[in-house]
Symmetry: C2
Subunit: 405 residues, 2 copies
């Protein structure tokens, strides 16, 4: 069985994802689609709109055959670490190819840019350092450092978020000595961060989430931008739990954590550096909600995304020591769900997997999975008291979701 | 000016407190009444019904002239440490006497019992150890150990909570070499823990709180059990903040703290010992509210009160190291409020105080007051989001309350 790997968040699964999935499957000539998906907290440092179990269902009902969880220690990370974790999981699961969406759409662009940067790495790194010293954020410094290189305009546009991610995937594949074939398909219509609707059927996840949270006011029908199963599952979630998750749901907990932590304790939290601990505590005292808090924290040096990720680490009390020891290579393949086709693939291939397959949490005794469980439990704190207990225990009881193909 | 010291919680100030205050003032022939009062968390390990600022107003409007805060590191403690902190503060403030309410009402009972126990201390301590080893709680073990001593029936009844506290006050005074005169007045009608109304005008604070929290259902008028100013201030609090504080208001935060802490981190929290950390985490996963959590934690060995205190320390993230280093002797006199008479006393006497007088927090740079500020901020988390910020900053901005006599 020929397999293609996708790296996804599906927050939520929309028509653009469906397009990418089908195009990838076709391009890779694959029988099986394997997705590695972030858990309950995402790369941009946000809680997912709905839990990973619901997002797994969306994936399986829309053409994915196997969903593995991208562990917390890779998911809530900068592009490089995120890509490294995802690649190590798809690699371990024996994927034949990895196909990502990009603004470029041409895999040769990526391969040539990587070769070019290998040549130019000394100047490139000096440029990055220079721009960082002027107080710019890391992503901005990279884009500018690249632009300063001779003939850089002939290569990939590294100011585009999906080009950067794709670049990191291929770099990680080369570092892992992966045999996966790198593939890319051009993203359709919507820009990653778009907040407005530019097409009849395709919209970014950002604009869909925005519509969902302002639903009452604007009465936007998201049905035209998401497949039927997504729409159904979103409605079920709303009905069952009375909410979708956003940062404001966790503000009380973040504020409480910050006002009860000493600066010394906060220094142990991942990504906290350079006296940020004191600014975080101060901002917690003087903010009325998460938006307010973020506005107080924002400077030129720190991107909004980086500050949000750091806030997630404070919220989940994720320490530098554990995050650094876990974010090298993935240690397990946590199976969130599968279709009949996915099951067939697993049965055939699992003996060749280079990492343990975790289908039942109680059978996996390694402590390296604890951050994922903790993240799921913190996520569950947003559920109403009467059903929260069930959600806190779900991580241990929930078997992988199975959807017959 | 002759002064009498009282040790109080006023949760809330009721007619029994008013009786004790007047009787104490008379017995001590005092011109000034100085109260040392627990802050926002109390000896039984509970958040106070209303904040220390409102309870200070109640005290000043009902005959107290000066209110000092009993620091967190003494207030949320077993009787011995609680008494030690209170005595060291009244001592430092130059009180001429300390007057406590007791079931006995006879100071000679206390002095004779202490002398007797000095003689019997070896057997007494062995008895305590023996009963502790059978799995009983410390207070039960003390009461039984005392009963087993020869002729103990001629002495103080140490199974009564206020007798125990009084006993600890006098013992602390002796240890401090205090020149304060010990005095006691008999408590009127209500038992400390009474949950029912036994008199027309006197009820325990416990029964008053119970009535307040079940107000809608039972429509109890607490007006007959509390002085006018208390009733007025309670109504104002309810109107301004929409609530009175109880443990359930802090359940989300406690649960969150427990599910995000490692057992090793919890071992650093004050009063956590003997593998309790794992039981706490487990109970947090499987409880739906604080009452439920406490029921799961309760065993013969741990009193309800001790488990509640320990829960407060988890909630405020109070560490063994800081609590042990601070709970020896008081380090400052935090002035919460005063009347004109109180002000006159302070002006005359403050140069003789053996501890720094803290009226303005910003002028006191010592870190030993940080646990009190932290406790006030955790307490403030129960306020609605829109006014919480003001409350978080209040600890620094609030000057002592002044009520003209």
């Amino acid at each position: 069985m020929k397999s293609v790997g996708l790296v996804v968040e599906y927050n939520p699964f929309h028509n653009g994802h469906a397009f990418h999935l089908q195009a990838s499957k076709k391009k890779a000539e694959a029988d099986v689609v394997i997705a590695v998906m972030s858990g309950n907290f995402l790369q941009r440092g946000e809680p997912a709109l709905v839990s990973k179990w619901y997002r797994t269902q969306m994936a399986l009902l829309n053409g994915v055959d196997i969903v593995f969880e991208l562990p917390y220690c890779f998911a809530v990370q900068k592009a490089e670490t995120f890509a490294n974790g995802a690649v190590s999981i798809l690699n371990a699961a024996g994927c034949n190819s990895l196909c990502f969406g990009s603004e470029s759409g041409e895999i040769s662009d990526f391969l040539e840019t990587i070769a070019y940067l290998k040549d130019q790495h000394k100047v490139f790194n000096e440029n990055i350092k220079h721009f960082m010293e002027t107080g710019l954020s890391y992503p901005k410094a990279i884009a500018l450092a690249f632009q300063q290189l001779p003939n850089s305009e002939k290569y990939l546009d590294l100011s585009k978020p999906n080009n950067i991610l794709g670049f990191q995937y291929i770099q990680a594949m080369q570092e892992h000595g992966s045999t996966m074939k790198p593939l890319t398909v051009a993203r359709k219509n919507a820009d990653y961060h778009d907040e407005h609707f530019a097409s009849e059927t395709i919209a970014s996840a950002t604009s869909i989430r925005k519509a969902i949270f302002s639903k009452e006011k604007e009465n936007v029908n998201i049905g035209q931008y998401v497949p039927g199963p997504t729409n159904m599952l979103l409605q079920e979630y709303q009905h069952r739990f009375g909410r979708f998750h956003c940062w404001e749901d966790y503000w009380d907990l973040l504020q409480y954590r910050l006002i009860t932590s000493s600066p010394e304790e906060l220094q142990n939290v991942y990504e906290i550096e350079e006296g940020l601990e004191n600014r975080l505590i101060e901002a917690a005292h003087t903010s009325t909600n998460f938006q307010d808090f973020m506005s107080q924290m924002k400077t030129k040096r720190y991107t909004w995304t980086r500050l949000q990720r750091l806030s997630v680490h404070v919220l989940t009390n994720s320490k530098k020591t554990e995050m650094k020891s876990l974010s090298g290579n993935a240690a397990y393949l946590r199976l969130l769900g599968m279709t009949s086709t996915g099951k067939e693939y697993l049965n055939k291939m699992k003996k060749h997997f280079s990492l343990p397959l975790v289908a039942k949490l109680s059978a996996y005794k390694n402590s390296d999975i604890l951050p994922d469980i903790k993240a799921a439990r913190v996520y569950a704190m947003a559920f109403p008291k009467n059903i929260r207990k069930e959600m806190l225990l779900q991580e241990f009881k929930q078997p992988p979701i199975f959807i017959p193909s």
